[in-house]
């Protein structure tokens, strides 16, 4: 290692590793656009041409980019915008307004944000003056004054487009789309949403003003493409300072992807979802295992990461409950079996538990009722059981109806994996009469 360091760019392995981790983490967490999107050439071209026409010809447009989460909608748009900005006759010609339905939760906020981003004249610093009505009138007036040939085109990007449709009267959408359909300042309204039925959310007159252009990103890529993407996402860029380390890293990544077990993990992940974001979390888990002593990602790391990501959260919680609580859960499971999923109350559970204790008094300590109640309440706090009705005030705690929010399989698995679980309890879990 020291040799390598001295030979190459004077970086220790530690430095190289942290540098590599930094680059990759940035890539995974910030969704950085590096290469042209895979398998989206057609959509890419459509969107690029559309936005370019707005920028160059001043043609107003509206378009929706629809696709399930993690299929690369935002990435595609960002990539297109990046491309556009690089074009000479477009660069200084467009104005961008980014809105997010999760941030701009109503039209008032959205209008302020638009005004701020457009930096209209009623903006000082970051403050927007005027009331909601004034802002709306002002913005509309501004847009109305513009015309196709002279004003700078504005590209409105509405992330989580479906949430804007829930605003009162859909005022913002109506106005934006109306501008895009009338001879005012040229605008492009680009909506991003994961809802396939988004058009049904639009009111009829809003819908009529929408151009009905939709770009669908449905994640139609195959497993081999998926694998390639994973590999390319993991490999270091050529401009990495330590060329030797980068080389070694990239070869190890190549090898890693050819590994059968790794392929199995990735395939399982792929079958679960084609979402790139979940792939990124998986790779990030593996990446965090890389240390100075272990400077490359090994198949074992990825296997462990796969196990982590597919682990059942409830099972992990069950792992930490007390034996009394476990017994109560088993009792609830039996009650569920007996009453076919009907809700139960504490008394029923306690009776079931007492029956078990009376049969196998030696295997477990006979707890006082208050202690059992405490355990029962703890389970409720963990949300492993939940009351059927929210209004619990009138009913005595003992008799409040509850439901178990665990599946049988989860209970059985927890019992199997519970450390030093008494055999009687185990048997009781598998059979109510054991």
């Amino acid at each position: 290692m020291s040799k390598r360091k001295s030979r190459d760019s004077h970086m220790t392995v530690g430095q190289c590793v942290s540098q590599a981790q930094k680059i990759l983490r940035q890539r995974f967490c910030h969704q950085e656009v590096s290469t042209s999107p895979v398998g989206l050439e057609c959509q890419h071209k459509h969107l690029l041409e559309l936005l370019r026409r707005t920028a160059v010809h001043g043609e107003s447009n509206s378009v929706l980019i629809v696709g399930p989460r993690g299929t690369g909608k935002t990435m595609l748009l960002n990539y297109v915008l990046k491309e556009l900005q690089e074009e000479k006759d477009v660069k200084s010609n467009i104005m961008l307004v980014h809105l997010n339905g999760l941030l701009q939760t109503d039209d008032r906020i959205a209008l302020k944000e638009i005004t701020r981003q457009l930096n209209l004249e009623n903006v000082v610093g970051d403050k927007v003056f005027g009331s909601f009505a004034e802002n709306l009138a002002f913005l509309l007036e501004a847009l109305k004054k513009g015309d196709r040939s002279s004003s700078r085109p504005v590209i409105f990007v509405l992330d989580e487009f479906d949430l804007f449709a829930h605003h009162k009267n859909q005022t913002l959408l109506y106005n934006l789309l109306d501008v895009s359909q009338s001879a005012q300042a040229p605008v492009s309204v680009v909506g991003l949403t994961c809802r396939l039925d988004v058009l049904e959310l639009l009111e009829k007159r809003v819908k009529s003003r929408f151009s009905h252009r939709q770009i669908h990103l449905l994640g139609s890529l195959s497993f081999s493409q998926y694998l390639e993407t994973a590999a390319s996402q993991l490999s270091l860029p050529p401009d990495f300072p330590d060329a030797k380390f980068a080389n070694e890293w990239n070869t190890s990544v190549k090898k890693l992807c050819e590994d059968k077990s790794v392929e199995g993990v990735l395939r399982k992940h792929f079958e679960g979802s084609k979402d790139f974001r979940s792939l990124h979390t998986l790779l990030l888990l593996a990446l965090s295992r890389v240390t100075v002593s272990n400077p490359v990602i090994r198949p074992g790391n990825l296997l462990e990461a796969g196990r982590c990501s597919s682990a059942d959260s409830k099972a992990n919680i069950l792992h930490g409950v007390s034996i009394l609580e476990l017994c109560l859960i088993i009792a609830m499971k039996h009650l569920n079996d007996i009453y076919e999923g009907e809700p139960f109350n504490f008394q029923m559970v306690h009776n079931e538990f007492k029956k078990f204790i009376s049969r196998k008094s030696h295997s477990i300590h006979n707890f006082e009722k208050p202690v059992v109640i405490k355990a029962f309440e703890h389970l409720q706090q963990l949300e492993l059981i939940r009351p059927v009705e929210a209004s619990s005030a009138k009913i005595q705690k003992d008799y409040q109806l509850m439901k178990l929010v665990l599946d049988h399989t989860q209970v059985m698995e927890a019992v199997q994996r519970y450390p030093q679980c008494p055999t009687d309890v185990r048997q009781w879990a598998s059979s109510a009469f054991a």
């Binding site: 041409e49 001043g58 043609e59 039209d107 009505a133 009267n169 809802r195 819908k207 084609k274």
Partner: protein, 939 residues
């Protein structure tokens, strides 16, 4: 239009300049002579005095109504300030079809004496914008060329049927009243009607202020206001004064008036403020000063009158004792009967005046007041002096007196102007009674001073009036109920009197009126036009805090123009492209056109409800109608009208509709409540010169409120007699009135309805063809396919155009040089249709991950097992596990399955309850089971 915004933007406050000059106890009215209009942001106030010509707020910002102020009075409660006016009409206000009766080209600044008695002559004083200069031009004389733009000229009268030679007598009563002493003196030099205009017109605004007792700056401001604000009905002192001056001058100086003389006179007037100041300084207390001033003035007047008019001498003497009353009477009589006589008198008087002015500041003040407001004064005097003569005279006088006196006081106190302002609010705060007492005191003092006139004392009303005169105008605002009563009585009297007097005096006034016409006209036209560009900017300033102008930055690179046939087609197919004509909506166009046209021509109002699904050309058709109506209006085929458009979707709250309407009408920016009341006033108050307003309300259903007051008002206004409002409403549903409107609203909407049917495929085809008229870019079959498809689905023209536009894009990108034609063909259109209409669910399912597909299958399996269309996640999970095992996939944990379920829920293939319920959440399919199975099988 925008010119007069200032008024709207700037808040104006109206106050009586002095205490009421008389009280009509029967009607509980208080009469006043003058009013002060304070414009926010301007240091100087305008004073409007009786007899002056004023601009009154109307529908048209450019052309506010012109009228002559006859009376000022306040209502019982003292809140409402009313004014009685004599209307003058502009040429543009004469009905289109009657305009030919004039038989010549109207002078741009010409106005006509409006002698239709049916017209309500009572206006809200707070609609007065400012004063204006009006000159009478004798019938045979040409309009003066050098008149300034603000000056209006009166030559003819208009009684809604014929144009008649305007009798100058109409204008006289006031002149006499107002200018009795000074006018005569001053007027002679000016007398030649032609000569007078020049000084008045352009400078009028500037000069008039001088003439007015109030300090020059105030006047100037007012004048500005006047130019800006056509709407205000309130009378601005300056304008009136100017007009009065003009009138007086004209009437008095028919013989010959040299411009030089007039100029001198103005000079004097201008110098007055200083004089006044001196007076003030000398006077210990304000009241005292006022009294003194008044006394001096009166004396001066008397002296002048006496000296000036030898023929009148008898009358003059009479005047002397009661001062005002007597003087006025004789003068009036003189004026009416002996016009020629006046002129000789006047020259002498003028000479005297000049001397007086130069020597005595007080006199100068008086003169100025006399010119403007003094004319008014005489009338009240008459009343006092001779109760018999008729309340008319008195009324006329009282207001004028007050005003003039107040003006005088003001001018004298110009140095202390600020103090006055401060004082005034305090005074206003004081209870009316107290004022009254003060006023009485003052009046008693005055009486003492003017001991000569015994007649005066006889009249209680007169005393009150005097009192009022001396008390600061602001106090008057709060005038006591008594005063109001008086004022009412007086005003009634005034009305009758004024009419009579005008008619009687007809011979005299013509000159003045013509001049006044010219003056009024000019101000409107030229200044308004000039101001128009500037004003629109100014109004904006109030809107946004920092005078922000709503503008999108301009582009750095010029927009590229379409380069080829397809791009050209795309540009013309864009929905925003405005077609030259609207094909397929001829019938609807005609119906709407006829409806609006008839209303505009009749000057009536009405409502129309237009319904139709989106994209059927409702708004476009209405716009087209308005466009052609506006063309017709430009060609003078129909009267001018205003078009205002609001959109329910483009406002944040139904009540914003008021704000938007008002803003578009007047560029005022106010709160919704205030806007509603302003509009209410506007549409319910009569004004002869109103032009019809056509209001388009788009997306009507969004203006629905629980009380429906917005809708109610929108439909109620057109039914008002004076509203002249045509409301066109647009919404999507045909039965909207029945569904959402309560009866009284629906009833007012009426039954004039129109429904736009969705376009048929032939119409759609025609629409596209008409847009593409020059450009050949589509194959016929392709067009037909698109139009048939769209017609079958929605009949939405927007959709049709969008599809065609998309098809051109597809054609352009896929253009193989081999395929040759370069036209948009069936394949391209098919592809575009597919993109827009095909459901994406099946593709989405096909593209879903294996687990997602399995989960969907599990959902269906569970549904089949349960026989329900709904299952809990826990149930589906069991199925899912089983399917996984069958497919040879490893078991999935609950967490994984839940993630899959949530993903499907996010893209709405599944409908999923809130994830708070965890495994108990219920799952439903958002796609038909068949679709799912089809998609999965094909896989």
């Amino acid at each position: 239009m925008s010119r007069y915004f200032t008024r709207l933007r700037v808040k104006r406050s109206y106050k009586w300049k002095s205490r009421s000059t008389s009280v009509d106890r029967k009607l509980n009215r208080h009469f006043y002579e003058s009013m002060i209009i304070q414009v926010e942001g301007r240091p100087v106030d305008t004073v409007v005095t009786l007899g002056q010509f004023i601009l009154i707020e109307g529908d048209d910002d450019d052309n506010p109504y012109v009228a002559r102020l006859l009376k000022f009075y306040s209502d019982e409660d003292g809140k409402a300030k009313k004014a009685k006016v004599q209307w003058y009409v502009r040429y543009c206000e004469v009905p289109q079809n009657k305009r030919k009766l004039l038989g010549r080209q109207p002078h741009p600044q010409e106005i006509f004496y409006y002698s239709d008695s049916s017209c309500d002559s009572e206006v809200d004083a707070e609609t007065i914008l400012c004063t204006v200069e009006v000159k009478h031009v004798p019938g045979e004389q040409p309009f003066p060329d050098d008149a300034k733009k603000e000056t209006l000229f009166v030559k003819l009268s208009w009684d809604t049927k014929v144009f008649k030679q305007f009798e100058p007598d109409f204008m006289k009563p006031f002149e006499n009243v107002m200018t009795p002493p000074k006018q005569i003196l001053q007027s002679p030099p000016r007398e030649s009607p032609v000569s007078t205009p020049p000084p008045k017109t352009p400078t009028t605004r500037g000069t008039t202020p001088r003439a007015l007792p109030t300090p020059d700056p105030m006047v100037m401001k007012r004048a500005d206001c006047a130019t800006y604000t056509p709407y205000t009905r309130g009378c601005m002192s300056t304008g009136r004064r100017n007009s009065r001056e003009a009138e007086s001058i004209h009437s008095a100086s028919k013989l010959s008036a040299s411009k030089l003389m007039s100029g001198k006179r103005r000079g004097r007037i201008t110098s007055e403020p200083g004089i006044r100041k001196k007076l003030e300084l000398s006077s210990p207390g304000k009241k005292m000063t006022r009294e003194d001033v008044l006394g001096e003035l009166l004396d001066d007047d008397l002296a002048q009158k006496l000296s000036t008019s030898p023929p009148r001498s008898l009358k003059l003497t009479i005047r002397l004792t009661p001062l005002e009353v007597k003087q006025n009477f004789p003068r009036d009589e003189e004026d009416f009967s002996l016009q020629p006589l006046q002129s000789p008198n006047k020259p002498t008087a003028s000479a005297l005046d000049t001397e007086d002015f130069t020597s005595l500041g007080v006199r100068g003040l008086e003169d100025s007041s006399a010119d403007e407001g003094v004319t008014v004064l005489p009338t009240p005097q008459r009343r006092r002096a001779t109760p018999r003569r008729g309340s008319l005279r008195r009324q006329a006088r009282t207001p004028s007196q007050r005003k003039s006196s107040s003006d005088l006081v003001r001018s004298s106190l110009s140095v202390l102007a600020e103090e006055e302002h401060e004082d005034s609010p305090v005074q206003t705060a004081a209870t009316p009674r107290s004022r009254r007492k003060c006023a009485q005191l003052v009046s008693s003092r005055i009486k003492q001073q003017l001991a000569v006139s015994g007649e005066r004392n006889l009249d209680d009303e007169d005393d009150d009036g005097d009192d009022c005169v001396f008390v600061p105008s602001k106090i008057d605002l709060q005038s006591s109920s008594d005063e109001e009563v008086e004022a009412k009585v007086e005003s009634d009297d005034e009305l009758t009197i004024s009419r009579k007097s005008r008619r009687v005096t007809g011979s005299r006034t013509p000159q003045a009126t013509e001049k006044s016409r010219a003056s009024t006209r000019t101000p409107r036209k030229t200044p308004s036009k000039k101001a128009a560009p500037t004003t629109p900017r100014t109004p904006k300033t109030p809107k946004t805090p920092r005078h922000a102008t709503p503008v999108i930055p301009s582009r750095s690179q010029p927009a590229r123009t379409p380069g080829n046939v397809l791009e050209e087609a795309r540009a013309s197919l864009h929905v925003s492209a405005v077609p030259e004509s609207l094909p397929c909506r001829e019938q609807e166009f005609q119906d709407i056109y006829n409806f609006v046209e008839s209303k505009v021509i009749d000057g009536t109002g009405g409502c129309m409800y237009i319904s139709g699904v989106p994209g059927t050309g409702k708004t476009a058709t209405v716009h087209e109608v308005i466009r052609s109506l506006q063309q017709a209006a430009d060609l003078d085929e129909i009267p001018q009208f205003r078009f205002i458009e609001i959109n329910g979707m483009k406002m944040t709250d139904p009540h914003q509709a008021y704000v938007q309407i008002l803003q578009k009408l007047t560029n005022q920016k106010v709160t919704p409540d205030h806007a509603a009341s302003l509009l209410e006033k506007r549409f319910s108050s009569p004004a002869p010169k109103k032009e019809t307003t056509v209001l388009l309300v788009d997306e009507l259903d969004l203006l629905w409120t629980r009380k429906q007051n917005v809708l109610y008002n929108l439909f109620d206004w057109p039914t008002r007699r004076h509203a002249r409002l045509v409301v066109l409403t647009i919404a999507n549903t045909m039965d909207l009135p029945e569904r959402i409107m309560i009866n009284r609203v629906a009833s007012r909407l009426g039954l004039t309805r129109m429904s736009f049917q969705p376009y048929t495929f032939k119409q759609l085809q025609q629409i596209i063809a008409s847009r593409l008229n020059r450009v050949r870019a589509f194959e016929e079959d392709a067009l037909q396919l698109v139009s048939r498809k769209v017609a079958a689905l929605s009949g939405d023209a927007r959709r049709c155009l969008d599809i065609c536009r998309r098809a051109t894009e597809i054609c352009e990108f896929s253009a193989d040089p081999k395929s040759g034609t370069g036209l948009v063909g069936m394949t391209h259109v098919m592809q575009a249709l597919d993109e827009m209409f095909s459901s994406v669910y099946i593709t989405a399912i096909k593209c879903a991950s294996v687990q997602e597909q399995l989960f969907l299958r599990a959902v269906i399996a569970e549904f089949r097992r349960l026989g329900l269309e709904e299952a809990t996640f826990q149930q589906v999970y069991v199925q899912h596990q089983a399917l996984c095992r069958m497919e040879g996939l490893g078991p999935t944990s609950v967490s994984e399955s839940m993630a899959v379920c949530q993903r499907l829920g996010a893209c709405r293939l599944l409908l999923v309850e809130s994830s708070r319920l965890d495994i108990l959440l219920r799952v439903r399919l958002n796609v038909s089971q068949d679709d799912v199975l089809y998609a999965l099988k094909a896989d």
